[in-house]
């Protein structure tokens, strides 16, 4: 293997996507994803047992698709990386067991990695290596955090702040539900918001000016109250305006704090990762504010923001290249793995 450009296969099963990605260093070779999202839609959220069943069924076909797309044989890879947490316990176990089987059958090193760190490291596939420290805004379905990252793909991460209640993506999903929009709520709200007025309703911006923690539960309740008041009064609900105003409040708080964190840490780079980083308004507002503040922004393309195996492989490749110690074969899946535990 070329030690700074290792060929790494990554497996992701923390939620409802079965992902297998293959990278060579920071070059993406394959990103195969099978999603069970349609099976969960009618339940308004991911049903863990349904997700776990789908992972088992999809694992080998997704693995084979990734190998075929990358044009490599199973035995060619230098290492196997897998999401060890955080996520749904039963779902994680399927991926972890699959990765162990692969590593054991072919005598490859195994790396159990953190899903959240992978949401950040995936940017290396889009924008290439970054040799300077950065602040990362991680905004996903289950997490919202600001992180100080001395080296993307390294084992050290410091959490500057996190949500004290709902994650940003969770707020999107809950607001979508009360507006009668499908699950997951991010994409339909993003689409509708484009037709609405972001200044129509002044929704609250919790804790905008202080610290690096977030709170989105009050915002969600404010949206619910506003919509209920309209419905009780028998007035039509201007859904596009509600979506746009909600989205503006989220994007405003996230970007204001991220820019402040970068300035506070004295870093020149900001990375945004996680499913909510696919949001068009968050991306546009972050770009605008980073330009004004002289910060360089890196956000992976929307397809790499939501869960996938390539992000796991991308982080794995950095760990391999920097000589990290592989995980043991008794590697546990940890549904509550802290964001600061990059490698298990």
């Amino acid at each position: 293997m070329s030690s700074d450009q290792p060929l790494v296969l990554g497996i992701e099963t923390s939620c409802d996507e079965t992902g297998v990605g293959i990278v060579r260093g920071t070059t993406l070779l394959a990103d195969a994803v099978a999603s069970s999202v349609d099976e969960h839609a009618r339940f308004g959220g991911v049903v863990p047992e349904v997700a776990s069943r789908a992972h088992l069924q999809a694992m080998v076909p997704t693995l084979e698709r990734a190998l075929a797309t990358a044009g490599v044989r199973a035995a060619d890879v230098d290492a196997v990386a897998v999401t060890a947490g955080p996520g749904l316990a039963g779902a994680l176990l399927v991926g972890v067991a699959a990765a162990k089987a692969y590593a054991l059958a072919l005598g490859k090193p195994l790396y159990g990695i953190n899903h959240l760190a992978a949401h950040v490291a995936v940017d290396l596939l889009e924008h290439g290596p970054l040799d300077e420290p950065c602040v990362a805004l991680l905004v996903s379905g289950g997490h919202s955090s600001l992180l100080m990252v001395p080296r993307v793909g390294g084992e050290d991460v410091v959490e500057l702040g996190a949500t004290v209640d709902d994650a940003a993506g969770e707020a999107y999903d809950k607001v979508a539900r009360l507006l009668g929009l499908p699950f997951p709520g991010g994409p339909p709200i993003d689409r509708l918001a484009a037709e609405g007025d972001p200044d129509a309703i002044a929704f609250p911006r919790a804790m905008r000016e202080d610290g690096f923690a977030f709170s989105f539960s009050g915002l969600k309740t404010a949206v619910a109250r506003w919509v209920e008041a309209r419905r009780r009064a028998g007035e039509p609900v201007p859904i596009a305006d509600v979506a746009a105003s909600f989205q503006e409040a989220v994007a405003d708080v996230l970007t204001a704090k991220a820019i402040r964190a970068a300035a506070d840490q004295g870093v020149e780079h900001l990375i945004i990762g996680g499913g909510v980083a696919a949001n068009s308004r968050l991306r546009a507002l972050a770009q605008q504010r980073c330009d004004a503040a002289g910060i360089r922004l890196r956000v992976p393309r929307p397809g790499l923001c939501t869960d996938n195996g390539a992000m796991v492989a991308a982080l794995g490749a950095q760990l391999v290249a920097h000589g990290a110690t592989p995980s043991a074969l008794d590697l546990p899946a940890d549904s509550a793995l802290p964001v600061t535990d990059v490698l298990v």
Partner: protein, 216 residues
């Protein structure tokens, strides 16, 4: 003709290497009773079997896996391990109903009941006549299991519930029996089979009602 045998359908985390050239001969086995340990214990158990027998994965002819029924989370660990292990080596997989292995171990019984723990005060069960399955697999309350005419019971269910007949010593699917149940297919180089878990129950999931109002 060595096969890797895996079963995680019960509290027994089972890995073994079995030679199916003639009578199924167990070359190495690791069986650990730990109802929550499948995820952590299975891969090290397989590695221990390989090193104890001095066998490299590339020497294996096939992977034989118990497809349940059994508690879902543990069952999936065994099946995904078997499927990926075989796929990366390019060798076939063969599924065996895990209860059939207990039926095979009791093949001298004219009417054997196999019952395993299905949790929630139920058992997974099947009936066998001299090793051949004649009823099941199914999941039921113990009182609803058809026990007419049975001569013995095997499986961990016999420790939990009284079926009123002699209890055989086998509690968990024996590795040699799992291999025996697939030996003909291995020897005939039968086509690889997808490992389909015998869940026997639907996922617990309820569609939500309308969102709760927040305004009092």
């Amino acid at each position: 003709m060595l096969v890797l045998v895996i079963d995680t359908s019960s509290a027994a985390v089972t890995a073994a290497l079995v030679d199916v050239s003639g009578q199924a001969t167990v070359r190495a086995e690791r069986v650990t009773i730990n109802a929550r340990g499948h995820g952590e214990l299975l891969a090290p158990s397989i590695a221990a079997c390989l090193s104890a027998a001095g066998v490299a994965p590339a020497e294996l002819r096939a992977v034989v896996a118990g497809t349940g029924p059994g508690p879902f989370t543990g069952l999936r660990v065994g099946l995904v391990t078997a499927a990926v292990f075989a796929a990366t080596l390019g060798i076939p997989t063969y599924g065996v109903c895990s209860l059939d292995a207990l039926g095979d171990a009791g093949r001298d019984e004219p009417a054997l009941l196999v019952a395993t723990d299905a949790r929630r005060a139920e058992v997974y069960w099947a009936r066998y006549a001299r090793g051949a399955r004649v009823d099941g697999p199914a999941v039921s309350r113990p009182a609803e299991v058809p026990t007419d005419g049975i001569t013995a019971v095997a499986g961990q269910g016999a420790d939990l519930y009284d079926f009123g007949v002699p209890v055989r010593p086998e509690r968990y699917p024996p590795p040699g029996s799992l291999a025996r149940c697939a030996a003909d297919r291995v020897r005939a180089r039968a086509p690889s089979e997808p490992l389909v878990p015998l869940y026997l129950r639907r996922p617990d999931a309820v569609a939500p009602g309308a969102p709760k109002a927040v305004t009092p």
